[in-house]
């Protein structure tokens, strides 16, 4: 087993474990914190794949902004931070069977896939990965139209958030 594989397996275990904690812990703030661990694990996965920019953006946007919004939202809506309802619904055993079957099916299908034993190739020295990304995103031959449309999306979200917050006034 290579060193990269060990890091991957540890990270994957942490992601799954913390994701399980997110849905099973009864304290909502704790659940939000476990979610941060999960998101950080995903950032580590990006780093393993040599996707520096995505790895750090994952931390900035998901951990630095969206998870903060979650914590604020929890504090906004509840005084009591404990969830007292039942943790399982009636069909839980059916869901376990479906999830298990799906996992088994995927496992069976991907058994012979060669991608598992491959590591991300290192960039040749002097390769400007961030520059390439920038070019793809904003150059006329790249994805410049989606880039501009993204700002319209942000505008819609902004107007929506302000409108919802001030609807009563």
């Amino acid at each position: 087993m290579t060193f990269t594989q060990i890091i991957f397996l540890v990270t994957a275990a942490v992601i799954l474990g913390s994701a399980l904690m997110v849905v099973s812990t009864r304290n909502l703030v704790h659940a939000a914190l476990w979610l941060i661990v999960t998101l950080f694990g995903v950032a580590v996965l990006y780093a393993i794949l040599n996707a520096s920019f995505l790895a750090v953006v994952q931390v900035v946007v998901y951990i630095g902004a969206i998870a903060i919004l979650f914590i604020f939202a929890i504090m906004l809506t509840r005084r009591e931070m404990r969830d007292r309802g039942p943790q399982l619904n009636r069909g839980w055993w059916l869901n376990i069977i479906i999830a298990g079957l799906t996992f088994g099916g995927l496992f069976w299908m991907l058994q012979g896939w060669s991608g598992f034993s491959k590591a991300a190739a290192d960039f040749p020295s002097g390769y400007d990965a961030v520059g390439q990304l920038g070019k793809a995103l904003v150059s006329p031959t790249g994805f410049v139209l989606p880039f501009e449309v993204a700002s319209v999306l942000l505008l819609a979200a902004l107007v929506g958030a302000v409108y919802v917050a001030f609807a009563r006034k």
């Binding site: 946007v61 902004a65 903060i68 906004l76 290192d122 501009e148 700002s151 958030a161 001030f166």
Partner: protein, 118 residues
């Protein structure tokens, strides 16, 4: 590239160990004489009234939402800034459009009073 991140990982581990040791030292050497008065919330000597944690004002939430939107905007700026010299006038124009669209939302939020703090 992965090596650079391993270096950061090593540093995170070292920093955590040092922080835990610091707290451990305090736990080890500090006196422990607990009493019910000591463990009450500190409100400058006045007996606390009501619960310690309460629901927070909606304003903080709105600030967080606005923050996410502008934060994503700033992140879009970063790859643009790296390749700006190669793009030239086109780069400037497209970023101007991007900013103007967002400024509409910014002005709307301002006019609606989302940036006020009473």
């Amino acid at each position: 590239m992965l090596l650079e991140y391993i270096a950061i990982g090593v540093m995170i581990a070292l920093a955590t160990v040092i922080a835990v040791i610091a707290i451990g030292l305090g736990e080890l050497f500090g006196p422990k004489k607990r009493s019910s008065v000591k463990s009450e919330p500190y409100e400058s000597g006045i007996a606390p009234i009501g619960p310690g944690t309460r629901r927070m004002p909606v304003r903080f939430y709105l600030i967080a939402v606005l923050f996410i939107l502008f934060d994503i905007e700033v992140i879009f700026f970063l790859p643009w800034a790296v390749v700006f010299r190669q793009l030239g006038l086109f780069g400037l124009a497209e970023m101007a459009i991007f900013i103007v669209i967002l400024l509409i939302g910014y002005i709307y939020a301002w006019k609606k009073g989302a940036l006020e703090w009473e």
